[in-house]
Symmetry: C2
Subunit: 358 residues, 2 copies
């Protein structure tokens, strides 16, 4: 079951086409409600038959609720208990999201999985999390009541920062609303990896056993392995696509930065035995040349590899689970996959940038 959803913010996984995603065996992608509501508009997409038809993607789509982006991207925002009023980062126009409005937008967009409107406070701020959690829970109730589309699953989102009691309270409240699946929100936005894992240690066991568990915004390979080990089923994250555009490519030994001079005459593919088009066709030296020369193709070829790498990782995780060897896989993978401090800092920087820039 464990799966990774590449992010197609604006109804497009950056630099890739549906056929590329098929080639990588991608089964699920995420699109962003906030962006698509603003441009080209959910009503236009609905008139085209929904997101699948509009973007030419015939497999499952998940949309977030836009709540997170309103707080991280919108030019201005004003929150009240009923909803949030904000200015578009594109043209400054004023808009309002309430739970009911977001359900209208997501039902028009037509993904297979929609998310409730929630608030995503800084994970270490206790008072903010207490205050936001009550509102997030009322919004979840209102989303559930407003959601009518039978062919679309509406997921609840567990919040509560890094605070065990708040997380458990959130699981308890949302479980009673009986959603078909649950997300864990508010992580990978400022806490340490250890705090993230500890929060999963508390949260996952309390969640309904038979329903899918989705960890939002997490996508570093080591975090995915750790989270699956703790009971998470699926993930989305901009990390693999975003760092690819900076020349950072995944290998089983960790990340390599193709812009480095050491790859200038490297005849090897990015990862030996990788079956992606990039590794089947090009040397590290050629890819480095494309990055250094500012060729758009570099961004795409890097993205093809990183997405393929993630899907291959998920396939291996599923295989390990099926064979009852997840624990062994975890230790083998993590022993080899080198996470440098530089890579960690880069990851934090990239995720922060992704939150600021659309």
């Amino acid at each position: 079951m464990p799966a990774f959803a590449p992010v197609g913010t604006q109804a497009n996984v950056k630099t890739l086409e549906p056929r590329d995603l098929h080639e990588a065996s991608v089964e699920l992608i995420l699109a962003n409600t906030y962006h698509l509501y603003l441009r080209p508009g959910h009503e236009l997409i609905e008139r085209f038959g929904g997101l699948h038809a509009f973007m030419g993607w015939d497999r499952p789509i998940l949309t977030d609720s836009g709540g997170y982006q309103v707080f991280s991207l919108a030019a201005q925002r004003k929150l009240d208990d009923d909803g949030v009023t904000f200015r578009s980062h594109i043209d400054g126009s004023v808009h309002r999201f309430t739970p009911e409005r977001v359900m209208e937008v997501e039902q028009a967009l037509g993904p297979d999985i929609a998310m409730v409107l929630d608030e995503c406070p800084p994970p270490l701020d206790r008072a903010y999390n207490e205050d936001a959690l009550a509102r997030t829970h009322r919004w979840a109730e209102r989303c559930k009541a407003a959601h009518t589309r039978g062919d679309q699953a509406l997921f609840g989102i567990v919040q509560g920062g890094v605070f065990p009691d708040l997380r458990l309270q959130s699981v308890d409240f949302l479980t009673q609303l009986d959603f078909p699946g649950y997300a864990i929100g508010g992580l990978a936005v400022g806490e340490t990896k250890e705090q993230m894992y500890a929060t999963l240690d508390i949260t996952c066991p309390a969640m309904p056993a038979q329903k899918p568990r989705y960890l939002m915004g997490v996508g570093a390979p080591e975090d995915i392995v750790e989270a699956v080990y703790r009971g998470v089923d699926f993930f989305d994250c901009v990390l693999p696509t975003r760092i690819a555009r900076n020349g950072q490519l995944f290998t089983l030994d960790g990340r390599l930065n193709l812009r480095n001079a050491q790859y200038a005459e490297d005849h090897r593919p990015v990862q030996e035995d990788c079956s992606c088009y990039t590794c089947r066709t090009f040397s590290r030296a050629y890819l480095r040349h494309l990055y250094k020369a500012g060729e758009i193709s570099a961004l795409r070829l890097g993205t093809i590899h990183n997405i393929y790498f993630m899907q291959e990782l998920m396939r291996q995780i599923r295989g390990a689970i099926a064979a009852g060897q997840l624990e062994m896989f975890r230790s083998t993978f993590l022993e080899r996959f080198r996470i440098t401090d530089q890579a960690k800092r880069h990851e934090q920087r990239e995720l922060r940038a992704a939150n600021r820039r659309p």
Copy 2:
């Protein structure tokens, strides 16, 4: 025989991969000696087995000689009768191209067709053309003498601006050197389309009948049709790829600018019945959304279409020639293909920009 070569300046047709070019039935691409000499260096490419191996392209490659780019792109240049000294536009380093040095570079790069070093003066400047022509002819002799690679065809370049006597003098001189093929240089860089066609009317009939004729830097569909009609065999140009990145896509009715609001809800493909991936998969509305949203994928999907369109045009031209109906094809095509003044201005601007910017 008529063929169009997309331009892969830095050993990459911008936004495309070899498999995309295969899908469009591209048989020949051009790469730029000046760029590849500076970055990553012809010696590195030679150590990788030449351009074909380096860039993963197994069909014919043509390299220009770099002369044109030295004059249009280099940060500084100083010409003498023996060669030209210039500063790199990348890092300001000083380099020198002589006929012998350029042959060394092109033989290391290893294309199927190499071009002699030439000078490409403004086509309307008589005195400049007279002066440059003598030098270009001496350089052609020296290139021919220095070229030793048996598996590579070295083409001569006919110069002479828009001046019939200079063009005929150039054809005469170069024909005596007995190159395996001949290019017509110095057009599409400032003269009117009528002046270009008139120059072809004079030049083509004087060229050797059994050897390929290559019109350099020409790629507007209407110019290609007119030039084939006048006896040209093949072409290279950045136009189809470059305008695609601005949202200008070819249709049989002329160009359309996908950024225009009129396409916001247009369900049709760019060109009805076009078999390219872009037209098979996406609506104009979706493509417009990608352009407006600043998605890199837009640049690529537009390029896929424009290159496919050019190859389809060449296929139809070859079919018309085989059927003895080129004249009818020409009038039918040109009657339908609308060339607006705006498109003409845009084309001039784009080609000028391509000459300035690497």
